[in-house]
């Protein structure tokens, strides 16, 4: 404590129970309390903390927005919680080179609000964009509603400033838009869930905002029909701005939250095109024609920006809106090849029936356009039978549905604690290599232990916490 206070000032270090318990949560089901929380304001502070921790073999868990749904920023074995939310400056906006440089604690929406003044944006669009931060997005390779068109965060990260576990500050990549003069360490850090280094500065490529949008939504009686409609859009070679879905249960609560009334119950699909007005209108007409071949029970089109925003808000609120239904809400994050969507989505819907525990329910939603679904389990974690049903559901989801169909256990949220168990099953041939890589960066295994791809994974510990 005294060494940390010396580096950061006592006002930026706390071991009070009242603070520790507030940092013990993210949006996952886990509760893991740190032993001390520190609030660095600069890369130098982070480096000093890492040096102390490395010398004394103290675990360090980085966090900024704390919105992870996987437990990634939770200190599973205690130690130091590195709260980076105070490093929240947009350092430069270079419109000529289309590069923005930020600190890790900048909210995604704050950045885009600023960029919109110049007609630009940073495209990855997680549903948590109001509250998630650039640091978290880099560390999870976050994506979202617009990934189908623009790709995930990694496609925009040009270079990084990173503090290594031994306290050394390094810069990856190049200041140019193109460079192959080094191993692609930038992409190695992106998505590493804070397990290899602490990101303290991020340079992002930005792109112009679309000129206009044209939007439709559909209600389908079955998720299979909805998934088939989404496939038709892909097969036609169309590239929507968004191609999103919500299952029946999710649709009801999300539309209610967004104040959208008069829509019949069913499975919801959002189809949105961005670009010049004439082009997006033509794309939408074609998209509607294709979707109608799957007999939606209802559909609407709109070019009204306010109504479009309400529809996007509804979709973005899906996860927390589901929390209205049951005391405990846990979201998963699987991807399957798009061709497997109809079958997988339908099978996922039947998990609660298969588990057969009264009161254990499911809502699904996600980025149907790129095969990324978020089955969300709704239950009461205070009931032992429900906790067991949840763990069994995870096994069914990943081991019986996702992995056999050639899918991945996480599309955009990361392994965290919740999916650590499945990394070796999905990646048997590279698991050792990933662990060796982790040891190369972090020989004392102090940085965000138990998370990411490099283990070691406290598998039983994670289950016990639940």
């Amino acid at each position: 404590m005294s060494k940390l206070e010396e580096v950061l000032g006592s006002e930026n270090v706390s071991a009070r129970t009242e603070e520790l318990l507030c940092y013990a949560r993210d949006s996952s089901i886990f509760v893991c309390r740190p032993e001390v929380v520190v609030r660095p304001k600069a890369a130098g502070h982070v480096a000093a903390v890492m040096k102390i921790a490395n010398e004394e073999h103290i675990p360090v868990t980085p966090r900024s927005g704390g919105t992870s749904a996987a437990g990634s920023p939770l200190p599973v074995i205690g130690g130091i919680l590195l709260d980076l939310s105070g490093m929240n400056r947009i350092l430069s906006i270079d419109l000529d080179n289309q590069i923005v440089v930020t600190e890790p604690g900048v909210y995604c929406d704050t950045l885009n609000e600023e960029l919109s003044k110049y007609g630009f944006f940073f495209p990855p669009d997680p549903a948590s964009s109001p509250a998630c931060t650039i640091g978290g997005m880099v560390n999870t390779n976050a994506s979202g509603n617009r990934t189908i068109k623009y790709g995930p965060t990694r496609d925009y990260v040009l270079w990084l400033e990173v503090v290594l576990p031994n306290g050394k500050i390094v810069e990856t990549g190049s200041k140019t838009l193109k460079s192959v003069s080094s191993y692609d360490l930038t992409r190695l850090i992106v998505g590493s869930e804070g397990s290899l280094g602490v990101v303290t500065k991020v340079a992002l490529n930005i792109v112009p905002l679309p000129e206009s949008y044209s939007t439709a939504f559909f209600i389908f009686d079955s998720v299979e029909a909805l998934a088939r409609a989404a496939l038709k859009i892909r097969r036609a070679g169309m590239v929507p701005e968004m191609l999103e879905f919500m299952s029946r249960t999710t649709t009801k609560v999300s539309l209610d939250y967004a104040g959208i009334r008069g829509v019949p119950e069913g499975n919801f699909m959002l189809l949105d095109f961005g670009g010049p007005p004439e082009a997006v209108q033509a794309y939408l007409e074609k998209g509607v024609e294709l979707c109608r071949q799957e007999s939606p029970s209802y559909f609407e089109t709109t070019v009204d920006p306010a109504y479009r925003q309400s529809l996007v808000n509804a979709r973005k609120a899906a996860l927390p809106a589901l929390a209205r239904i049951k005391p405990t809400t846990v979201m998963e994050d699987c991807t399957v090849p798009p061709t497997k969507l109809p079958e997988s989505a339908s099978r996922i819907e039947r998990i609660p029936e298969e588990v057969g525990v009264p009161g254990f329910e499911l809502g699904n939603f996600g980025h149907i356009g790129d095969g990324n679904m978020h089955p969300t389990f709704l239950f009461d974690s205070r009931i032992e039978e429900h906790r067991r049903a949840f763990l069994r559901s995870l096994d069914i989801l990943y081991e019986q549905i996702v992995l056999p169909s050639g899918g991945s256990v996480t599309g955009e949220h990361g392994i965290g604690l919740i999916r650590a168990k499945y990394v070796g099953i999905e990646h048997p041939s590279t698991l050792t290599l990933m662990r060796d890589l982790k040891k190369l960066f972090d020989p004392n295994l102090i940085l965000n232990p138990g998370k990411g791809k490099g283990g070691p994974y406290p598998l039983r510990a994670a289950e016990a916490i639940i």
């Binding site: 706390s14 009242e18 318990l21 507030c22 929380v37 704390g66 919105t67 109001p130 929390a323 005391p327």
Partner: protein, 383 residues
């Protein structure tokens, strides 16, 4: 009765449901004042839960976090999970008071209530001082159709008195049969509820209801969004149905103008931004009446803050924040004033005497020349 209504245990399921998604954090006005997670709505929920579960005892540190909130309702509106954060915070404050861990300034607030029937500590006999500023005689009748209930901040603060005077001229111009309660008006009780000093709330509720009932009024109209909400929500929770209609003055004036009973005929040359009071707008959803009124006035140019209606920034005066953290209350007021600078307005117009007071004091402190006015003052100038 009060124990049952302000019991933290009633919000146990809300706290369980909160999945810490953090959507409430970024625009929370007071969260930005405290760099620690415990000062954010998401953190406050964790503290409340820990208090309820006995993980932490009510103490001054917890109080410093739970009173770091203006009860502006942003978190309440933003939460897709329908977690009643501000209500839980009020219940948490009641528990802190019960255990003696509340800020000391609230003891003075309570003593003001008990002695002078208002949170400001001004003599109850001065409640009608504003009437001397009015151009015509202010009626204090035994019976009337309408009771005008200015609320403490309109009746007893200097910027507020201008609101009460303007309102009186509007009520006269509309030819209504109206009265004030005079010294029979007590504070609505909101500051007691917001502070957690809930022991005497029922006395204030009963007194005010009785006073209004004795006039046989069919309608109570108030200048104060807090009073408006309290009569609508808390009085109904405490005593069941309230047997008279409760309106905010902007709702009444909007009706009077649309039914041609009030004709704002004079031009009022002013460019101003409308500031939505949290209690009136985000919490009670009265967004359009004040805007319709202002748009009906010749010469008046209405501009909108980028953050308006549900996302309007709190002026800093909500809850008991002026009593527990006056300097930060003014800091938040200055922030709202800053938001008006790009709009190039002469004035900020609001519909709440407390917002007016706080913005007025913040403007003075930062040396801003922007005028702070109430919708009723604009209407009165147009008559």
């Amino acid at each position: 009765m009060t124990e049952k209504l302000y019991n933290l245990d009633d919000y146990r399921e809300d706290m369980q449901r909160c999945m810490s998604c953090g959507l409430c954090n970024p625009l929370c006005p007071t969260g930005a004042l405290c760099e620690w997670e415990s000062g954010s709505p998401r953190g406050q929920i964790q503290l409340l839960k820990a208090m309820l579960d006995g993980e932490v005892k009510p103490n001054k540190y917890v109080a410093s976090r739970l009173y770091n909130c203006t009860l502006c309702g942003y978190c309440l509106w933003r939460c897709p999970s329908a977690v009643k954060t501000t209500e839980a915070i009020k219940a948490g404050r009641a528990l802190l008071v019960e255990k003696g861990s509340h800020p000391e300034s609230l003891d003075e607030l309570e003593s003001n209530f008990l002695k002078e029937k208002n949170p400001l500590g001004l003599p109850q006999t001065s409640r009608t001082d504003w009437t001397r500023l009015a151009k015509s005689r202010i009626p204090v009748k035994e019976k009337a159709d309408v009771v005008y209930f200015p609320g403490c901040f309109a009746a007893m603060t200097e910027p507020g008195k201008e609101v009460a005077v303007a309102t009186a001229s509007i009520l006269d111009a509309a030819g209504l049969d109206w009265t004030i309660l005079g010294d029979k008006e007590w504070c609505c009780g909101d500051h007691l509820i917001s502070s957690g000093k809930v022991a005497h709330v029922k006395d204030f509720v009963s007194h005010n209801l009785e006073a209004v009932k004795n006039t046989d009024a069919k309608t109570l109209v108030t200048s104060c969004p807090r009073c408006y909400r309290i009569f609508h929500q808390e009085y109904r929770r405490l005593v069941g149905e309230v047997d008279f209609n409760v309106l905010h003055i902007t709702q009444l004036v909007d009706d009077l103008i649309s039914s041609k009973k009030l004709l704002p005929s004079k031009s009022v040359k002013l460019t101003a931004a409308y500031h939505d009071p949290c209690e009136l707008g985000r919490i009670m959803k009265v967004f359009e009446p004040p805007r319709r009124i202002l748009k009906a006035i010749d010469g008046f140019e209405l501009k909108e803050f980028p953050r308006n209606r549900n996302t309007a920034t709190c002026c800093g005066a909500g809850g008991v924040f002026r009593f527990t953290d006056y300097s930060n209350a003014l800091k938040l007021g200055a922030k709202r004033i800053d938001e008006s600078i790009p709009l190039q307005v002469d004035a900020i117009v609001t519909a709440c005497p407390t917002c007016k007071l706080n913005l007025h004091e913040a403007a003075s402190q930062v040396g801003s020349g922007v005028k702070i006015l109430d919708v009723t003052e604009i209407v009165a100038r147009s008559l």
